[in-house]
Structures are given as structure tokens and as C-alpha cells.
Symmetry: C2
Subunit: 194 residues, 2 copies
DNA sequence: GTCTATAACGTGATAGAC
DNA sequence: GTCTATCACGTTATAGAC
């Protein structure tokens, strides 16, 4: 029933996000998107006048999706352990989806090569993710589920850094590298290997 | 006494490496290098005919330097603890040098956008670093200096992933983020905070 | 070893018809 | 909302003089 072609905007965002996590923001072009979408260059510019506009929209969609994701978790009354598992699900999906990397990690490595307006969005995305994870870790420790040294905020930072690094290095060492890192992250939270 | 301009090749490599760790391989051009070097486009092409040649030479220099670095450590009879500190010194230097990221992390995020010949070099660099770190961790554990679960190889992978992720995320959260990650890596090796 | 000059191409972006 | 056509520019790369 879905009208074909009426949702070009969404398809552009899908492709842009995939390309971002695959090759990077500066390494894909309007032509790449137009071609894969079976449309012309100018059509993409109609929806997103400048590449910066497109970049911002892609990041904002990550932000909105993450917010919806955690709202659902909260409404479902998920406990910290479930929240942690749900969080790990995200990079796992990227890995399976052709070895994509974390969008935030990609934007950080390109940080000095992207427009300031995109950096602002990237900062917000990072802050929202780490803030939520920090809270989950704090609750988990208070409930005796997790055990770790230092602040929950620092632990969240460590986990985000490790996961994004692990996703990247998996491109070189293979997928098993990622599972090895996740296993150790869990150990270092005082969890037995599942 | 140094002859000015006789070592253009070296200066090109210096600039290319700095640009790689700053913005990424696909985000700098021959023009960037030529300009900062006060020389013309074609002069750079004389030393490195294609950009792929340049990329390979840069990575190979990282490899050679790392080999020399660990040879000196070994000749000095460094114990595992000193080796670990020496290893941490590398990303610390990158961080202080304008918030540069790990070259390997940069190459991994750009992995699907760089020529195959560069990927091969990147794989070698990764392997050499992780192999050395694995051995250092193994020795350290055998000597009762470090304490960790799982294989030394997996622990080395985790540390490399974490450090490269931490360097990247520091661009968003600031330099203190990196120290926080290093502190936790040490804790998780059974070391008290220094 | 560096220069000038230029080729060949890809890029982001815009104007205007349909 | 998509098209054709085009622009201005930056990119990698090469030829040939000095």
C-alpha cells in the first residue's frame, strides 16, 4: 500500500546514515545517494539543500531514535541489566550490518573536517547517550548488579569509548574481536560470562 | 647545519601523518601539504606519485618507528610495567599534539574508503602493535604485576580499542576524558591509581 | 628537485523547465 | 518533486621547461 517514491526524504536519510557509518561523511557524495536511489543529483538537493543540512538531519535522527529507544525501555520498566543488554544491541546491529562503525566514532575522527553545526549535533548525541548510560550504571551499582571502581560517569565514558573502538578494530581483526571486547566489558562490571 | 629543503620527503611525510591524524586520509589533499611546505603541487607528486603511495609510506613509517621504539625498550631491559607506561605515552602524545587521534583508528573508520594496498599496511601495523602488547601483558601477568581475566591477546585487543576510542571521544568531551579512561584501564589490570 | 601549465574528473550547488 | 543542464571549484595526476 505504501506510496512508492513519496518518502524520498526518508530513503535519503537511510542511505546517508548507511554511507556515513560505512565510509564517513566526507567520503560519500550526493551522486552516491542519488544513484543508489535511482534519482538525480538535484532531487537530493531539493530535500537537503546543502550537505551540512543533510549531515545535521542524519545526526538528529540518531538522537530522536535513541530517545524513543530509551523511552520504550523506561516505559517497559526495564532493570539496569536489561538496559545494558539493550545498549549492547545497538553496536551489535552495526557490526552485523556490513561491519558499520558507530556514527559517533565516525564523526569524532572526522571532527576537524566537518562543519561546526554538525559538531554541535554530534556533541548533543554523545551527551544524551552517555548521560543515559551513566544513570543505568549508577542504578545497577546501587542495586548490586554491577561492580566497578570510580564514578558511573567515568565508567560510561569508558564503555562508550571501548565499544566504538572495538567496532572499528573489528574491521581489521574480524567480528570475533568485538565479542571479545564485550565479554571483557562485562567481566569488568563484575558479571559472569553469559 | 641542517641543509634546508634537502629533506622535503621527510617533511612531506611529517605533514601527511599530522593531517591524517587530524582530519583523515580522504580529507587532506596534495595542495594542503604543498602549501604548508611552501612548495608546489607537482613537487609533492615527485616524491610520492600517487596518494596511495603517500598513504603507504606514512603507515610504513609508523610501523618502522614502532619497531624501533620497542627495540629500544627491549634493549633497555624494560619490565612489563615500564613497557605499559611507554605504550600509554604514545596516545598521550597524540592528545597533547592538538587532539590528534590514533592513526590506526582513523584508518579503520576510513577502511572502506581507502585503497586495498593501504589496508594491507594498516593490518600489519595493527598486528605488530597488538602482538607486542599481548606479549607484554602476558609477561606482566606471569610476573604477578598485572591481573586480568581471559587471554592476554584479548586483553591487548581491549586496551587498543579503548585507547583509540578514548582519543576520539576526547575531541567531544575534552582531554580529561582520556585520563579517565586510562585510569580505569589501569584499575582493570589490578593496578592502584598512580 | 622544483617549477609552470594543464588535463581529466568528481564535487557541491543552482536555474529553470516540466 | 524531479528533471536537464550547467557552473565554479577542488582534486589527483602528468608533461615538459629550468
Amino acid at each position: 500500500m505504501a506510496h512508492p517514491r513519496t518518502d524520498t526524504r526518508k530513503q535519503i536519510l537511510d542511505l546517508a546514515a548507511a554511507l556515513l557509518q560505512d565510509r564517513g561523511f566526507s567520503a560519500f557524495s550526493y551522486h552516491d545517494i542519488a544513484q543508489q536511489l535511482g534519482v538525480r543529483n538535484a532531487a537530493v538537493h531539493y530535500h537537503f539543500p546543502t550537505k551540512c543540512d543533510l549531515g545535521i538531519a542524519v545526526i538528529q535522527r540518531y538522537r530522536h531514535r535513541f530517545q524513543r529507544y530509551i523511552e520504550i525501555l523506561d516505559q517497559g520498566g526495564a532493570d539496569p541489566m536489561l538496559k545494558l543488554e539493550a545498549y549492547f544491541t545497538i553496536p551489535w546491529g552495526y557490526l552485523r550490518d556490513g561491519g558499520k562503525v558507530c556514527p559517533l566514532g565516525m564523526l569524532e575522527t572526522e571532527f576537524y573536517a566537518i562543519p561546526e553545526a554538525m559538531r554541535v549535533e554530534a556533541r548533543s548525541l554523545d551527551q544524551e547517550i552517555r548521560q543515559w548510560l551513566t544513570q543505568a550504571l549508577r542504578e545497577g551499582r546501587d542495586q548490586g548488579l554491577f561492580r566497578f571502581q570510580g564514578t558511573a560517569k567515568d565508567k560510561a565514558l569508558l564503555m562508550v569509548a571501548t565499544l566504538q573502538g572495538a567496532l572499528q578494530i573489528s574491521r581489521v581483526v574480524g567480528r570475533d574481536g568485538f565479542s571479545a571486547c564485550v565479554r571483557q566489558l562485562k567481566w569488568d562490571l563484575g558479571l559472569v560470562s553469559s
